[in-house]
């Protein structure tokens, strides 16, 4: 399978690899996928008081496309508000990385990871007023 230069760059030089303290109040964590399916993504966000994603980190178990999709996702959500981050769609990721058709599910997983991290942060914060998704 031949991959795009952007994909290979994200695989070889992944952005924002690492972990944030999942117990910290300002951190939201999304863990999606399953080892049995061959893909697991952990995506974390640190959100400031203005509701802006200040930092994002990921760790991924998966193929090159999964690693690149999650790397790109962290790059895109940094500096965005939670609402803006939630608007990122898998097809934007797939298009940017020129994912082959059999790898589209990797971009779906990255979108899910963003949504799960945001939901986790909201669940920690909004408390009673805003129901967890």
């Amino acid at each position: 399978m031949s991959y795009s230069e952007k994909l290979i760059d994200h695989y070889e030089n992944p952005r924002n690899v690492g972990s944030l303290d999942k117990n910290a109040a300002d951190v939201g964590t999304g863990l999606v996928g399953a080892p049995a399916c061959g893909d697991v993504m952990k995506l974390q966000i640190r959100v400031n008081e203005q509701g802006i994603i200040e930092d994002a980190k990921f760790k991924t178990f998966g193929c090159g496309s999964a690693i690149a999709s999650s790397s790109l996702a962290t790059e895109w959500i940094k500096g965005k508000t939670l609402d803006e981050a939630e608007t990122i769609k898998n097809n934007q990721i797939a298009q940017h990385l020129a994912l082959p058709p059999v790898k589209i599910h990797c971009s779906v997983l990255a979108e899910d990871a963003i949504k799960a991290a945001v939901a986790d942060y909201r669940a920690k914060h909004a408390g009673k007023s805003e129901a967890a998704e």
Binding site: L31, A34, P35, A36, V40, T60, F61, C63
Partner: protein
């Protein structure tokens, strides 16, 4: 590739100091380069000696026929068969199809049951499925964790209606060698034909159809440093095995496989067998040494690497390893200078990992982390050492970015987590 590999084997100067030419081919169970000696033997039969081996009326035909018959004898010799028992085919897939369908259909008035194993190559399993659709019954024997079938289960599965048992000699993914002589003895005693797909085993381990009581054996050219597009089926004459042809026409190959024989390919397969027969002992020893060198270094430098399939009852040039917490395809992308295969079938739409590993009881998550590494005739020690370095650094890099590795280090039991899947 072949010439390059040959040069390396002869120890010629490499480009650069300590780096072998890249990429490094470590996928010898997928295919092998045609040995340059085989190519040399083939060449005249393309051009000046182009006759049809079935032409009975002139010298061109006679010399081609002589060449084909010499090849037939060379093929027979490596498995202890008579040349009259060798049928040329286009490859092991056709040989397996001919053996299974041919025997099943010929004896269908009396018998309608076949036995095979779940770890067989797709061309056996798929053929069996088709036979099931035709009305035959097929038993699929399971394998143990080491990859071997249980002989007691085989015995129990044989009935009065069983016509054929088909168990591969050596597995293409895990290299595990089945107890052929024992299976042969059981089958002979019960009056059941024994077919073995020996595509991976011929020329790698000693095989003898007579003492192992094998009635049919599939052979591949390109797995043994011969050309692609040629194979053979051994069809025993004592006891006589009869089969219905799949390809009809001029009645060549004693009516079992019509079509003009491709003289250069036949000569190539014959020469490949002759070389393998001469060099098998020394080559097996050398490959085992390279494999053990590779495996020892990997084990020493990486924790949580697991071998799939038995180590002892295994082809000398095969390893199948699970690198826990690192997905196989992701790993392959990191070691792009190495040509290996992954047990993670993530490239297919199904997302199903290797059915062979699953049959051994390897967990799906572990199957996704596996690589098949195949060493062969032109693999050098330098390549092995380079491969080790490359794999160790890639596994370490990918583990550092694996959430599963992180959780395992934190002592979290991955099985305790409710995974969503997708």
């Amino acid at each position: 590739m072949a010439t390059e590999a040959k040069n390396m084997a002869q120890g010629e100067k490499m480009n650069g100091a300590n780096r072998p030419p890249l990429p490094i081919y470590l996928d010898y169970q997928a295919t092998t380069p045609t040995d340059p000696r085989v190519v040399q033997a083939m060449l005249p039969w393309f051009t000046e000696k182009f006759g049809n081996p079935h032409s009975r009326n002139h010298a061109y035909g006679w010399e081609a026929e002589e060449a084909v018959e010499k090849a037939r004898a060379q093929i027979g010799a490596i498995i202890g068969a008579d040349e009259k028992e060798i049928v040329f085919t286009s490859g092991a897939t056709e040989s397996n199809n001919l053996a299974l369908q041919g025997v099943a259909r010929f004896y269908k008035d009396r018998k309608n049951h076949l036995i095979t194993a779940v770890t067989e190559h797709k061309c056996v399993l798929d053929t069996m499925r088709h036979l099931e659709q035709e009305g035959f019954n097929v038993t699929y024997l399971p394998v143990a964790k080491d990859g071997l079938i249980d002989l007691a289960e085989l015995k129990a599965a044989i009935t009065d209606k069983t016509v054929l048992v088909s168990i591969m000699a050596a597995n293409n993914e895990i290299g595990v060698i089945q107890p052929l002589a024992e299976i042969g003895a059981i089958c002979r005693e019960r009056g059941v034909f024994f077919h073995t797909d020996a595509a991976q085993a011929v020329g790698k381990i000693p095989l003898d159809v007579k003492s192992m009581k094998i009635d049919l054996m599939s052979i591949s050219g390109h797995k043994i440093y011969g050309p692609k597009g040629i194979g053979a089926l051994y069809v025993g004459r004592k006891p006589r095995v009869r089969l219905q042809a799949l390809i009809h026409g001029g009645g060549q190959e004693r009516g079992m496989r019509s079509g003009t024989l491709p003289t250069p390919l036949c000569v190539g397969l014959g020469e490949a067998c002759a070389i393998a027969q001469r060099e098998m002992g020394a080559e097996a020893e050398r490959l085992k040494r390279l494999r053990d060198r590779f495996y020892a270094q990997i084990k020493k430098r990486l924790p949580e690497v697991y071998l799939n399939g038995d180590l002892e009852r295994r082809l000398p040039g095969n390893l199948n390893l699970s690198f826990a917490y690192v997905e196989g395809e992701g790993l392959m992308m990191g070691i792009k200078d190495l040509c290996v295969s992954s047990g993670s079938a993530c490239t297919s739409a199904s997302l199903e990992p290797s059915y062979v590993l699953r049959a051994l009881g390897v967990e799906e998550e572990m199957a996704h982390t596996s690589l098949r590494i195949g060493f062969g005739r032109f693999t050098t020690e330098q390549e092995v050492d380079y491969a080790v370095e490359h794999i160790v650094s890639s596994v370490n890099r990918l583990r550092a970015m694996s959430p599963l590795w992180e959780m395992a280090q934190e002592g979290i039991d991955l099985k305790s987590i409710q995974w969503a899947g997708h």
